[in-house]
Symmetry: C2
């Protein structure tokens, strides 16, 4: 149920069309909550039916601009403050859990790829940091917090992977 809230959050800043939202998902939310076209448009229809958003304007090319309603803001607020975070699933740790089923050399290579992926993530985040105008309202302030979390996450994961490599049985099986 978080997609709808992500959309409400974006609409809380300013009205937008489905297309606009999609772009925003690609740019600022890509690392946090990816969403596809079909999801965005589908959810927009539901939000509209539930009265959380309304069509605030219609433009060329059939463009419909949606704005958040008071009910939508309440829903957003409720989710933000009251709802419990979901249980997280972690693909990567699941694999690590079963790393014993491959050879130590393969396991080491696996961890090495993890380090590289974190390097790439960090690079990507640094690029976002560079390319963003950080003087641009609430989203900027909080975007920075999220960005910093990502950087810390990448650093943590990289250090862990390096440590983990030392814990693997030596030699090949």
């Amino acid at each position: 149920m978080s997609l709808r809230h992500a959309m409400l959050g974006l609409l809380a800043e300013e009205p937008a069309s489905g297309y606009d939202l999609l772009r925003r998902f690609e740019v600022s939310l890509a690392n946090v909550w990816p969403a596809t076209q079909s999801q965005v448009y589908g959810e927009l229809a539901k939000l509209s039916a539930d009265g959380h958003v309304t069509v605030s304007a219609e433009g060329p090319r059939g463009r419909k601009e949606y704005a958040i309603t008071e009910a939508g803001r309440e829903e957003l607020r409720h989710w933000l403050l009251e709802e419990r975070p979901r249980r997280r699933r972690d693909d990567l740790m699941l694999r690590v859990f079963f790393l014993g089923t491959v050879s130590p050399a393969e396991a080491r290579a696996f961890l090495e790829r993890g380090v590289q992926r974190m390097d790439a993530l960090e690079e990507g985040l640094r690029a976002v940091e560079r390319d963003t105008d950080w003087n641009d309202g609430d989203l900027a302030v909080n975007g920075r917090l999220v960005l910093e979390w990502g950087l810390r996450f990448a650093a943590m994961h990289r250090e862990w992977a390096e440590w983990a490599a030392t814990q693997l049985p030596s030699g090949d099986r």
Copy 2:
């Protein structure tokens, strides 16, 4: 598609029934890849249809014990080494992203709850650490790696939350 691999991974160690798997999901995989009953039994049927597992024994109470097949091991190996990790979704960071829509005081309280949640997570992991027999084959070795990751994650998040609180605008809006 990771549920099936988690199950294959567990079955790679030793044959088990759906019920057994379910318990293992509750205990060792709870923080990594939660799964429900309906998912486990459903997936077991699919895995069986795909030839990745076979019924290796039938016990009392209709118990069916499943064992991984050679094809299943290959599938597991392929997933482990070749498949790309999924994009992660993060509920929590999504909320942080929209933290500007509530008052600074509420935001601070939100971050504070995050710290507490991490404390609880760490405590839970420490309990697992205490209660587990770490001399028990591959899963133990790798379980430790995962556990350590969890501890580092909790520490990272806590420190981040404390830092983030200092970044929030002061006073109430």
